[in-house]
């Protein structure tokens, strides 16, 4: 009985001190970076069959080929911990069955595939891709996602050639806060200042990039 009371007290103090949850449990310490870098792509290939069942050309799920392994690893971790919530909860369920090693392995395999590519012929109607917008404190997309949308260290994802519908939905989710696994709200702050029209234009721009 005494033990139970003690445990209950401990539990209460812990919840009182916990504060708000961080937007992601993943921290890119040198150990974590090294762990993801050393993912076994051959084991990843065995796992990817399940992914490819849904992540393919017949639907609106995002392309994973050529995506940064660090980005894929972080998203899988965030789905597992609940930091990122899939509206259909499918990804949360999937990720909860994977170990850390599985995540690094499947991320390594997808990271090594030929990257998704757009058809070309893109045109930036918003002016934000390369120049940003100083008046709104809006940095250029390319400053983090790379000059050709190829993604950058540590875990800024590749955008070039991604499905337009997915990009648009993602930006809208950041804008309304339903996607919230960006540390220090960096992407939420950026997306909140974009109009729905600009979001559509940016999504189409990056989908066409090759």
């Amino acid at each position: 009985m005494m033990k139970f009371i003690l445990l209950a007290c401990l539990g209460m103090t812990l919840t009182a001190n916990a504060g708000a949850e961080p937007s992601s449990q993943v921290a890119w310490t040198p150990q974590n970076l090294d762990f993801v870098k050393k993912g076994h792509a051959d084991h990843g290939q065995e796992l990817m069959g399940t992914c490819a069942g849904c992540h393919n050309e017949t639907n609106a799920n995002p392309n994973l080929e050529g995506q940064l392994p660090t980005y894929l690893y972080k998203q899988l971790q965030d789905y597992k911990s609940g930091s990122r919530k899939d509206p259909t909860t499918a990804m949360n369920g999937m990720a909860s069955t994977l170990s850390d090693q599985d995540m690094a392995d499947v991320a390594a395999w997808y990271g090594r595939q030929k990257p998704m590519r757009g058809k070309g012929g893109e045109e930036d109607l918003t002016g934000i891709v390369y120049r940003g917008d100083g008046k709104r404190m809006e940095p250029a997309c390319s400053s983090c996602h790379g000059n050709s949308g190829q993604g950058e260290k540590v875990d800024t994802p590749r955008l070039a050639g991604q499905k337009a519908a997915y990009l648009e939905n993602t930006l809208l989710a950041y804008k309304n806060g339903s996607r919230a696994n960006d540390i220090y709200r960096r992407m939420r702050l950026i997306a909140a200042k974009l109009s729905a029209e600009e979001i559509k234009q940016l999504a189409e721009f990056y989908a066409k990039q090759d």
Partner: protein, 194 residues
């Protein structure tokens, strides 16, 4: 080696320099001028360090830049102007610098009151600078930058990054609003976002 033999070694070296090496008279004069300048500058640095207590930064407080968001004083819900002032009335402001912005992006502080900034970088080297004021510091990843200042004039100021940090460096700025002391309201105790 005692001091006598050291002195004689040095004087023999000078002797060799004067006799064996072909040093032009004018060249020798300039060498003396240059040497004199070195003595003057090193001397003045030492003098100011000792007399007026000018020292290199000694506030070396380390922090793990990669996991700032996981907890501790730079956790996501602990940033910005702190509701509770320090014992001497100084306001504490906690910021995280990351590519490309200072988070939270907008803060409001009163004029004429001591403000202590504590800033940590989540990625690379940044600098924080508020033009037209004396607030300026380097933010080295792995360390906490601390600077205390007073803003005499109310107004809207940008906080700029002045250490090149990447492609978006020229977009890295956040807004600091300095209000009159009467207009300023302490932030509420509840959890602040951004």
């Amino acid at each position: 080696m005692n001091s006598n033999s050291l002195m004689s070694t040095i004087s023999s070296w000078i002797n060799r320099f004067e006799t064996e090496l072909q040093v032009d008279k004018l060249e020798r004069k300039w060498l003396r001028v240059a040497l004199g300048m070195v003595v003057l500058f090193v001397g003045s640095i030492l003098l100011t360090a000792i007399v007026s207590g000018v020292h290199p930064p000694s506030h070396v407080e380390t922090i793990d830049s990669a996991s700032l968001h996981l907890g501790g004083e730079f956790a996501e819900d602990k940033l910005g102007v702190q509701a509770e002032a320090l014992a001497d009335g100084t306001l504490l402001v906690k910021l995280v610098a990351g590519r490309y912005g200072f988070y939270p992006r907008e803060i409001e502080i009163p004029a004429g009151r001591k403000i202590k900034f504590r800033i940590a970088s989540m990625d690379v080297l940044h600098g924080a600078h508020i033009p037209m004021t004396n607030m300026s510091t380097m933010i080295v990843p792995g360390y906490v930058a601390e600077v205390t200042t007073v803003f005499p004039k109310p107004g809207e100021y940008p906080m700029l990054c002045n250490e090149y940090c990447g492609m978006g460096h020229d977009h890295m700025w956040s807004k600091v609003t300095v209000t009159t002391p009467e207009d300023w309201r302490a932030p509420a105790e509840e959890i602040r976002h951004e």
